[in-house]
Amino acid sequence: MLNPYRTIPVTILDKKTLFEGEVWLKLDYRLDFKPGQFIEISLPGFGESPVAPCSDPIDNKFVEIVVRDVGSLTRAINSLAVGDKIHLRGPYGNGWPLKKLLHHDLIILAGGTGIIPLRPLLFNIINNPKKYGKIYLLLGAKDPQSHIFRDNFAVWKKKFFHFKTIVDQAPNNYLGLKGVITDLLKPLKLNPKKTVALMCGPEVMCPFCVESLEQKSIPSDRIFISLERRMKCGLGLCQHCNCGKYLVCQDGPIFDWETIKDELRR
């Protein structure tokens, strides 16, 4: 029997600091994953942590991940150099419900690092423009620096029907918008019959977004949210990641709002 806890050592091919304490890593590993799934990364001696790959799932010669410096594992990963090895296993979880997105308008809401698990989906959309309707992409962040993947903004602006970013705090000379993500959402006119909402971000953001989506008559079973929990084993055994009745590593991390809204309050 194959040991599902066994990790695979992979080489870091490229490394870029996106923002203070946030690094982007390109790993030499062919990973078949669905947009929205997550993997467990680890360094021997430092433990494991779940992260979502942010690379193009079709062009899967490499995996890209973004690691934020929050604990001793992520700090150790941040201090690695190109050529060093890190360990990974996965992918785990369900991923975005691609079938339900087909031929629908998509409203995609991401707060801060919430864009990470959405980026593989954005690649998918750009590669298959005919499969989807209008794309609305709204990004919120704490300040202008914390917008990650700013290099992609030009492409996203060109390819998507509607693309806006907003920040909480910014210096006075900042030219973009200031406020919260719902400020971007409220003025939009959406077709409630054929729109699907996808969101990922801090969990406090989600109920506000859902409220304004529901005002636009988008049914709650067509609002999808990606949850962050402490997925320790990824196999549905360790019980660290449950959210009410559901195990985030098995039934999630993507849930529709109808299913999960009662569980979040539990």
């Binding site: 001696g45 430092f46 604990g71 001793s72 700090r75 150790a76």
Partner: protein, 237 residues
């Protein structure tokens, strides 16, 4: 890396515990050069240290000066044992102001200088101390156990002493000692300090069946600076 091991006022039992099984301690020496360890070596340097281990409480002016000096000379300061962590036996003086007059309050190390980690217990669990040193060497956060003694006690397949009518503090005390006392039939005296988010109201209520209020407060004195919170928490409900 360099290591200094210091002792303030205490029984020095924790230092002896470090040396208890010299072969195991020798493995730690693969990672560290001991610059200062007056219990075990003659030539000692004043620093600087990558890691300093401090046991005991600062009682005299010299000890306070020494402790502040250690803090300045070391990158990481780790307290060793109950005295340094909570005040230990000498801290019971703080609760007997009427009997011992004119003395300063006994302060645990963390009240005098900033500490990075605490290895608790009376005496310490030496495996835990070695593990902490190795973890620090590798730049890792030392793993801190945050569950009560009860959990380990039950895993050791023994019966609950509190249920048998013995005033055991295992249910609110941090584990990591492998429940060595309770497994051998002695009640837990709480040397490793309180576990995070514990139910202090309940332990007072449970102990009331077997002890008087005064005895309960005396038993809880081991928690040192936390004891005020315990008594307050207990009364709040």
């Amino acid at each position: 890396m360099t290591l200094g091991i210091f002792s303030l006022t205490c029984c020095e039992g924790c230092q002896f515990e470090l040396l208890n099984f010299y072969d195991d301690f020798a493995h730690v020496l693969n990672f560290y050069d001991i610059l200062n360890f007056s219990l075990a070596q003659e030539e000692n340097l004043p620093g600087p240290f990558d890691v300093a281990l401090v046991e005991g409480t600062p009682e005299t002016r010299e000890e306070l000066k020494l402790l502040k000096g250690i803090r300045k000379q070391s990158k990481i300061l780790v307290t060793l044992g109950t005295c340094a962590h909570l005040g230990g036996i000498q801290a019971q003086r703080n609760f007997k102001e009427s009997e011992v007059k004119g003395k300063r309050k006994v302060l645990p190390v963390s009240k005098v200088v900033d500490i990075d980690y605490a290895i608790t217990g009376c005496p310490i669990n030496r495996e835990e101390a070695y593990q902490t040193l190795v973890d620090i060497y590798h730049g890792r956060e030392p793993y801190q156990i945050n569950y009560p003694v009860c959990f380990e006690c039950r895993h050791n397949q023994v019966k609950c002493l509190l249920k048998e009518g013995k005033p055991c503090l295992g249910s609110i005390t941090r584990g990591g000692c492998n429940a060595i006392c309770t497994t051998n039939g002695f009640v837990c005296l709480g040397c490793r300090g309180p576990v995070e988010q514990t139910n202090l109201y309940k332990i007072k209520e449970m102990l009331k069946k077997y002890l008087t209020d005064k005895e309960i407060n005396q038993r809880l004195e081991i928690y040192g600076e936390f004891v005020d919170n315990i008594i307050k928490e207990g009364d709040r409900h």
